[in-house]
Amino acid sequence: MPPDDLRSAAARRDEGVRKVSALTWRAGAAGVICSAIIAVAFGQHAETAAAKSGSAPGTIAVPNQPPAPGPGAGHVTSGGS
């Protein structure tokens, strides 16, 4: 093959590699963005559900008042079930 044809083929090959690399990078970036969107959406769902239950999303909620000593019998019993 003449030297000019060899250089042309090499240039076309390099151009093809650049295009494939660019496509690969864009696909990867799109995947990362989609993953981030899904993660944010999932987090929002979990926090919404937690808020519905009255619980803070990031910690176990403490009571406004700790239990006080109770006189006499209970209204109700808390135990294993």
Binding site: P57, H75, V76
Partner: protein, 312 residues
């Protein structure tokens, strides 16, 4: 502000006993109707022993994504939150481990010794809560062979939901106890809601144990003494250590915790059973008032739980 006497209703649900207390006796019927409706919905969504529940359908989906109702999605989200906040000590993927121990049907049948169905479960860590996928499109999927059991959170979550709805729709003060998992909302009676704390929620009023008063949030007790049976000749119980897939080997007989909600209280009490000796420090660090009872009956308290007189 507090109010006077309370009206009471009790009934069976989820294989245990529910107690409903309201400070407005005229509101008891409406409160019971709300509770019945909500508890039936939770049972249809999350029962492990109903062939027609959403949970059963998801467990039988073979790892495929399935649409879930908003209620079931909330129940799954609550279980995943409990797992995250306890670093996986309270894990919703314990269903296969429980079934392998024979707890694959209503507990009354387990207690009666009805033979268990054959199980393919092999002892070892459970698949883990990160195997559970829940998306905003209303779909859930179980990976890695995970099977859901929401027993550690669903009952307490239902108590919170009932108490909140009843207080919001009926007014006054309300206490909902589902097998000893207690949620309160609205205005408490004079002196607060008095709760006897002991091993078994069904024990009589004279059973040993302190009485405490709460005015908000929830109080839950986890115990290895009640939902216990024999499997392969060995005594076992229902609180699974996700790291081993077997019943938690714990230094606590019973743990009671007060928290901002009932589901948070039950999350913490269950995690404390699994964490063993590390539990008092973990509870104190979280600011959670708790009472932990060793097998010999001695108790340790944390974070403002009322001190108990020393044994004579």
């Amino acid at each position: 502000m507090t109010v006077g006497p309370v009206a009471e209703d009790s009934f069976g649900v989820f294989g245990t006993t529910a107690v409903l207390l309201v400070t407005d006796s005229a509101a008891l019927g409406e409160a019971r109707a709300i509770a019945d409706r909500e508890l039936a919905a939770v049972d249809r969504a999350a029962s492990r022993f109903r062939a027609d529940s959403e949970l059963t359908a998801l467990n039988q989906a073979g790892g495929a994504a399935r649409p879930v109702s908003p209620l079931f999605a909330d129940l799954i989200a609550a279980a995943l939150r409990a797992a995250r906040l306890t670093d996986g000590a309270v894990d919703p993927t314990c269903a296969a481990a429980l079934a392998a121990l024979g707890y694959d049907r209503d507990f009354e049948q387990v207690r009666a010794g009805t033979p268990a169905a054959p199980s393919a479960w092999r002892a070892g860590p459970v698949p883990g809560w990160r195997s559970v996928e829940l998306d905003t499109a209303g779909q859930a999927r179980l990976r890695d062979g995970a099977l859901l059991d929401l027993g550690a959170t669903a009952k307490a979550w239902a108590a919170d939901r009932c108490a909140e709805l009843i207080a919001g729709q009926v007014g006054g003060g309300v206490l909902v106890s589902l097998g000893g998992d207690i949620a309160v909302a609205g205005t408490a009676p004079d002196g607060g809601w008095r709760v006897r704390v002991t091993d078994d929620h069904a024990a009589g009023p004279d059973v040993p144990g302190p009485t405490v008063a709460i005015t908000d949030g929830g109080l839950a007790t986890s115990s290895i003494t009640v939902r216990a049976w024999h499997s392969g000749g060995q005594p076992v119980h229902h609180i699974i250590d996700p790291a081993t897939g077997g019943p938690a080997r714990t230094c606590w007989r019973t743990v009671s915790v007060a928290a901002g909600t009932c589901v948070d209280a039950n999350t913490a009490s269950t995690a404390a059973i699994v964490r063993g000796e590390a539990a008092p420090g973990w509870l104190a660090g979280a600011g959670l008032p708790a009472r932990l009872v060793r097998p010999d009956g001695t108790a340790v308290t944390t974070a403002g739980w009322p001190a108990e007189p020393a044994a004579a």
